[in-house]
């Protein structure tokens, strides 16, 4: 059980994800769309319940991400990369909020 809980994955530029190795996560460096897609599929197939992905990597493989949006077994969580956040994670959260409640309450321009 403990093993299962500890299992985490991280995908992205190798500089950004090295730190995850320290906490026992499986870190897969990926910098091209194909690499990112394959890394996500590999981790998901190995039964990794939580996969952290850097925002820049997530932007490269929107389709692979969308596949895991609907599955219960795997959660793909975008994190800021080495250059900081480019707004991808926030945008995803905002999309989810709009879908859930039907209004864009996070838009600060309102």
């Amino acid at each position: 059980m403990a093993d299962k809980l500890l299992k985490m994955g991280a995908v992205g530029e190798s500089d950004a994800i090295q730190a995850f190795r320290a906490i026992g996560a499986v870190a897969v460096p990926a910098t091209t769309p194909d690499e990112v897609t394959q890394a996500l599929h590999r981790l998901a197939r190995e039964g990794t319940p939580v996969i952290f992905i850097t925002e820049s990597a997530a932007r490269m493989a929107p389709e692979a991400i969308s596949r895991y949006e609907q599955t219960m077994e795997t959660a793909v969580i975008p994190i800021p990369g080495i250059k900081g956040s480019d707004g991808y994670g926030e945008q995803k959260v905002r999309e989810s909020v709009i879908k859930a409640i039907g209004a864009d309450i996070l838009n600060q321009n309102n």
Binding site: T37, Q38, H41, R42, R45, A64, S66, Q70, K99
Partner: protein, 588 residues
Amino acid sequence: MAQGKIVKVAGSLIVAEGMSSARMFDVVRVSRHRLIGEILELRGDRASIQVYEETSGLGPGEPVESTGAPLSLELGPGLIESIFDGIQRPLVDIRKKAGDRITRGIELPSLNREKEWDFVPVVKPGDKVASGDVIGSVQETPVVLHKIMVPYGIEGVVESIEQGSFKIEDTIAVVKGEDGQVHHLSMLQRWPVRRGRPYKEKLSPQMPMVTGQRVIDTLFPIASGGVAAIPGPFGSGKTVVQHQLAKWADADIIVYVGCGERGNEMTDVLMEFPQLHDPKTGETLMKRTVLIANTSDMPVAAREASIYTGITIAEYFRDMGYRVAIMADSTSRWAEALREMSGRLEEMPGEEGYPAYLSSRIAEFYERAGQVVCLGSDGRQGAISAIGAVSPPGGDISEPVSQATLRIVKVFWGLSAQLAYRRHFPAIDWLLSYSLYTDNLSEWFTDHVSPEWEQLRQRTMQILQEESELEEIVRLVGMDALSWKDRLTMEVARSIREDYLHQNAFDEVDTYTSLTKQYRMLRLILDYADKGQTALDAGVNLSDVISMKVRERIGRAKYIPEDSLKYFDEIEDELAFETNELINRGGL
């Protein structure tokens, strides 16, 4: 013969008195114009008569004369390729004699009396024959061998029979009954339209009537000897479906009854059928077709008779051992004619003003269809498949005619205005329609098409049903909420709808699809579903699976001619190859 006089005229209904010796359903001649009518009601010596022709100018006091016989049809060589009105008057001959409009009281024999037919006997003097036995035949058209049968009620020993050219009224055989009575048989028989022609035994249909229409043959097949209804709102393509069935249905004889619909629809049939060739015989479709026309501007009373006229002719050919298909377009107009007459008769109206006996009349018509063992000693089988269009006002099938029809028919091809609006033709709604013959017929399909057929059929239905459930979800939360598996299902369902169920009646190749081709097409689409799923499981992106190049070829598979089915192997190979390539590239 009873001779009475008119006391009341109400549209096409007249009441005459002095008719005490007449009987129900006797045909009468009304007034000095000698209009044809039929007795619908007798009260003392008063008879209510429906007149099959325009009654303007008639008044009380004019004579009514009974012919002493019920409305009967002339059955014999000359029926095929003819076009009759509702009471079997030959429209072509009438046009020659009276011009474009039928003049009142015109009297012409239904079948050509002058034409000579080459009669070839199959029995010889001394043979014993019973009712329904074939005594000889006439090659009526290149595809129809018209069998001459012993009329019902006659039985005995053939005294003489001759070969040669005869007119239909000439004696071709003499049969001496056991009671010593001598019958002179000609090629012409008469039969009252309201009575079903007798048969030996009715059988349960076990074989489909292949129509070449994919949605019908695959999902909602009709049995040979089955009954089907096509209800649908205005503009949804009832007539086109009927025409398609008349053109391509796997039947020996087609009887097409145009009943209260537009004249140009009959014109279409008359113009098109002589141009189209039957794939099996190579002859034009007209060579196996009988047309009955009572278009919307023709007298309404004859509309009521037209359906019976059609089915009686169908029964006559069935008795020869043929598979006959009768299309009635539309039974709603016929029911409206019943309603009009019932109103004039001052009967108590039932639902929506239709007579209380509406459903029994509709049942009477459809029950005359079926697969039967014909009369006669050779045990031949014949079948009538009846297909009636129903035009419910506003497309609402809760109205009485649709409901009464649905109680009887076993196949329901519900046309949907929505599909027609989306230009999906034939607009047969797969979620609404049903066929109760599928269980009976699955064995035939397994033996004659493929053991996989039933399984493919069920899977197709299942995917289409899943699609409608998924559509609900998509409507609520959007396409993104679906898993890839479901999105692939939606994509396969779309392929089934657009590449398989959609069929262009006006495309030379697409208009007819053989069962083998249907099987190959369906297998191809479901193969794509399986291979697509395998690819997704292997990690290939959905967009790559959806945009596979081979899909264009799958979509165009319907245009592969019947004689080039080998292309299906090619497409299958390409599908397998492309899937493997995707998996190798995008998978893990």
